[in-house]
Amino acid sequence: MAGGRSAFSRNADVYAARIKAIIFGVILACALCAIESTWFSSIELPLLGYSSPMLCLGMSVAVGFLMGESEGGVTGLFSGFLCECAEGDGIFIFPLLYFALGYLTGILTDRILGKNLASYLVFLAVAALVSFGADILLTATVTGGFYKNALLSLVAGIVLTVVLSIPIYLLVRLYAKASNKQ
């Protein structure tokens, strides 16, 4: 008793760390979603035309990639919900989609590729392809809208998502390292 910490104290530390992680995740998800819907709502790329990045997807994949499948899944669920609220069409399919992508990233990370930036970008590119593909399909089938040039928008969206998610990956990695040290 005198030499070690009590079980209550250890549990308190675990809960404090979880609360910190939740706060960090909520704030980062809100900030990224807000940035996505304000600064990057429409970006023009040469030859590819206009598109917007999926920064919340980048965050979900980064969390799943660096912290594990559960964290990735929860982050995907929450950030997908926010994205749907900010600029979705009201179908609320993105929470499920982001959850699945964040969770799968966590599971597949160690088995397919190592934990480095290049692997993350590959995962993210595939996830973005799935997400943009689903978005284009949903737009065409359910909401009755259309993309003027779907293929170019898809490529532009993937490029923007991959490039602009690098700082997000570095930020999440920084947080993951800091929390591991504690």
Partner: protein, 291 residues
């Protein structure tokens, strides 16, 4: 198999949650409340969106300042040139407005005296000639504008005098303040007649004299004097001045009055006059009836 083992309770809960959200949104949409869930999320996002929009606009403004400095300088120069041009136009507009106001005054005179033919002129100079006990003004119009000797000169407020000398581009006017300028005048209220004549001793005070009024006349201070119009030099009923003081001349048993002309004979504030180049002779109604 190892991947499948990962599918635990947590995964089921999360999938259920995501499906539940999708189902709830579909149900709310069917109920006509499609935006209910979106409003919840949008409320959470609103402060962040406001923050990033504000920051974005600030950076955008600052970046535009530095990137478009040449454009701004060019725009500034063009605006400055435009400003100078506008200033010129403003001055022109002020001059036109002033002239407009003056002509509006003459228009009311023209409406009152429909038979008047007027020629606009500017006072070039004023001159007091003591040897002649006269005050002259020189105008910017002459015979080329149809001005002739003996034509009356007025402003919108009253009589100035008559043209005594004419050149092709200028003319000289003997004003009411000159002792040799005699105007047959009529007192509007009392109906008394007299002669308005300049008195050089009153020139500095800006007055003229009304003489040859019958001794039993009841002239009052403040009475308005107009032209009588029986001498054919001046038209009938042009305002001349106002009685300032009345005194009796004991020698010839007449009444004399000192009067102030309606026109400011210095022409310091308004240097525009009109020469009456033509009018029909009219007599007072009483005299017309007598005839």
């Amino acid at each position: 198999m190892r991947i499948m083992r990962k599918v635990n309770k947590f995964l089921i809960v999360c999938i259920s949650l995501a499906v539940a959200v999708a189902l709830f949104s579909a149900t709310f949409a069917a109920m006509g409340r499609a935006n209910l869930l979106r409003e919840v999320g949008a409320t959470l996002l609103y402060p962040f969106q406001w923050l990033f929009t504000t920051v974005g606009e600030s950076f955008d403004g600052a970046a535009r300042y530095f990137t478009s400095i040449d454009e701004l300088i060019e725009e500034n120069e063009s605006l400055r040139a435009e400003n100078e041009e506008m200033k010129g136009q403003l001055i022109e507009a002020e001059i036109i407005a002033e002239e407009n106001m003056r002509l509006y005054g003459y228009l009311s005179m023209k409406e009152l005296f429909t038979d008047f033919e007027l020629c606009q002129a500017t006072v070039i100079s004023t001159e007091k000639v003591q040897s002649e006990n006269a005050v002259y003004i020189t105008l910017s119009c002459g015979s080329s504008s149809g001005v002739e000797v003996n034509m009356p000169v007025v402003t919108q407020t009253g009589l100035v005098g008559y043209v005594c000398e004419v050149s092709s581009e200028w003319c000289r006017v003997k004003t009411l303040m000159s002792s040799s300028c005699v105007v047959s005048a009529l007192c509007v209220t009392s109906g008394e007649s007299g002669m308005a004549v300049g008195d050089y001793s009153l020139v500095d005070e800006g007055y003229f004299r009304l003489t040859e009024i019958s001794g039993d006349a009841e002239l009052e201070v403040g009475e308005i004097i107009v032209t009588r119009g029986d001498g054919k030099l001046y038209p009938y009923s042009v305002p001349v001045g106002r009685v300032v003081s009345v005194e009796k001349n004991a020698l010839n048993r007449t009444v004399e009055a000192v009067c102030q002309p309606f026109v400011d004979m210095d022409f310091s504030s308004d240097s525009h006059v009109m020469v009456i180049t033509g009018f029909e002779t009219r007599l007072p109604e009483s005299e017309t009836e007598a005839e």
